[in-house]
Symmetry: C2
Subunit: 330 residues, 2 copies
């Protein structure tokens, strides 16, 4: 069971995150900020499997912040087993989206409460609390939003493309089904209102960050925070011309017609991000990023273990510190 809520002290930070990259950065930030961290997580890659509601980005962040993520695989829960999945296959269920036995419990509890009419946000917070997560992970919206990608095979659900088709088809267009009916939740709006800094994780700009920005109310909330002097930093998920994980590099080529560089990522964030963080291997791109109007931080952004996660998080906190009083944050 989690400890009782502690009095808030020091500065609060909101991070916008997708799956693995967002989870690692959030984990590093949580090491510094504990319960002063709020993660607003993409829900565009949520999907239903076997009648159960699965929220891959939320759960990746949750398992990571709970310290039970499977680092060997890069997804799922440490020590996971697949007995139920094997039986589902025996019943003829398509199991290309592989769900472990422990992971299934998350989806079962979530689905029961969701079908009973509860909002996604309190359900998510209770799951996190049960696993002892100190930060808060907020779904970007309670409404169902489903990211779809146009390929030469037609429109595919995001996970069909990402897991089922191994990200092989070229992505020609992205849309967020349901986004028009979505609204920012009171919890997300309150997090932005009380934020002392906002950080965009090194997640995919097109399918992790863009859906969060597209939720009606969120961009306005970020703009309002910036109007109060709250800095917004973003970390490039493209390092040395390649995505650290996933298809972001190929999407930059096919969707933006650009070479996949940190500059191309920065271009997606013009107008709402102040500070752009590049990896040291991309130091020669710093000037081009500055030309786009960003302040810059060049540092080692590879998060390969707890220490490097915390180090990058600390460097970002230091960089947004002059405005927000980092000393009390870290």
């Amino acid at each position: 069971m989690p400890d009782a809520p502690r009095p808030r002290s020091g500065a609060a930070l909101v991070v916008l995150a997708g799956g693995v990259g967002g989870a690692k950065l959030a984990h590093g930030l949580q090491a510094h900020l504990d319960d002063r961290l709020t993660v607003v997580v993409n829900t565009g890659d949520d999907l239903e499997r076997h009648g159960l509601l699965v929220c891959p980005d939320h759960d990746t962040v949750m398992y990571t912040l709970a310290g039970i993520d499977n680092r060997e695989w890069g997804w799922g829960i440490a020590g996971e087993t697949f007995a139920a999945s094997e039986m589902l296959a025996r019943y003829g269920e398509p199991t290309w989206f592989r769900l472990g036995d422990r992971d299934l419990a998350t989806h079962i509890v979530r689905t029961r409460r969701w079908r009973d009419g509860e909002r996604m946000t309190p359900i998510a917070l209770d799951l996190q609390s049960a696993l002892g997560v100190r930060a808060r992970i907020l779904p970007m919206t309670d409404a169902p939003v489903r990211t779809q990608v146009l390929t030469d095979e037609g429109w595919l659900g995001f996970q069909t493309y990402f897991v089922g088709r191994h990200q092989e088809p070229e992505v020609l267009e992205v849309r967020f089904e349901g986004i028009g009916s979505a609204t920012a939740t009171p919890e997300v709006l309150a997090a932005f209102e009380t934020a002392d800094a906002i950080v965009v994780a090194p997640s995919n700009p097109f399918v992790s960050v863009a859906p969060i920005l597209a939720v009606p109310g969120i961009r306005a909330a970020i703009d309002a925070a910036r109007g109060r002097g709250v800095p917004v930093a973003a970390i490039s998920g493209i390092v040395g011309g390649r995505a650290i994980k996933g298809p972001a590099d190929r999407m930059i080529a096919s969707l933006a017609g650009e070479a996949p560089t940190a500059v191309a990522v920065a271009r997606r964030y013009v107008g709402w991000v102040d500070l752009f963080v590049l990896d040291a291997v991309d130091a020669e791109l710093e000037a081009a990023v500055r030309d786009l109007g960003f302040a810059t931080l060049v540092t080692d952004t590879m998060m390969v273990d707890d220490a490097t996660r915390a180090r990058l998080a600390g460097a970002v906190l230091d960089a947004v510190g002059p405005t927000t009083g980092t000393t009390s944050m870290v």
Copy 2:
């Protein structure tokens, strides 16, 4: 995958069954009858757990007929694991009704199709088919029926009493919630119409057999079969004054005010059963059972392994044979 349907040959048999006792007898009968066996199974002890629809009697019979039942425990699936259940407990879910990882897959598939509006019967038949079951196991009705027992703690759902309270409270009354809106399915009615014999498994008369009989249309279908000369046999689940498994002996005392004997079981079946099967240890009760108007068969009814299951089944088939042409059945 199951084989293609084979032409029916020889006589067909319908068995009325609850859980473990019914499953064992059905398994013995399947050894003789293969796909000429239909099991009409109690659904009164179905329940929802974690938002999933669980059908304990159906699944016990299904796993047993599929040969994957866990004989060491007397319930569930051989080699079963409980990783999901442990995670459900971590989320604060009550897990007194323990669901294994493989078993969960059954409930997940069933629940998905059921929420999509499908009838329980085709869902059940597909599950059985996927596991290679040769006989057909038909839910007694597609409608939700929930057996409840009145105790000094008030009315309890059947599984709350049976599993949650370890059958400890005295049962003062039994009711089948929803039975008034239930109807016999076309599949169940067709099975009785084409049956050459009907057998009542050594299941609990009050909470396994009675709910089946209470489904509007089933008693009439049995009466119609008897009118055509179809024999109905029943096997006592009380042997030597004690229930082989479960609380039937205590229910006979508390509900019928009788000593728990095979005679008391037989009394429950007066008027719709022709042949009553007693265990050899109860041979001295044969005359009393005959006095109630039954033909009798005295034989070893304990089913401790495949051989004794098949032996009892064969003895029952022989006993109903003169009317139904057993020779072609076995």
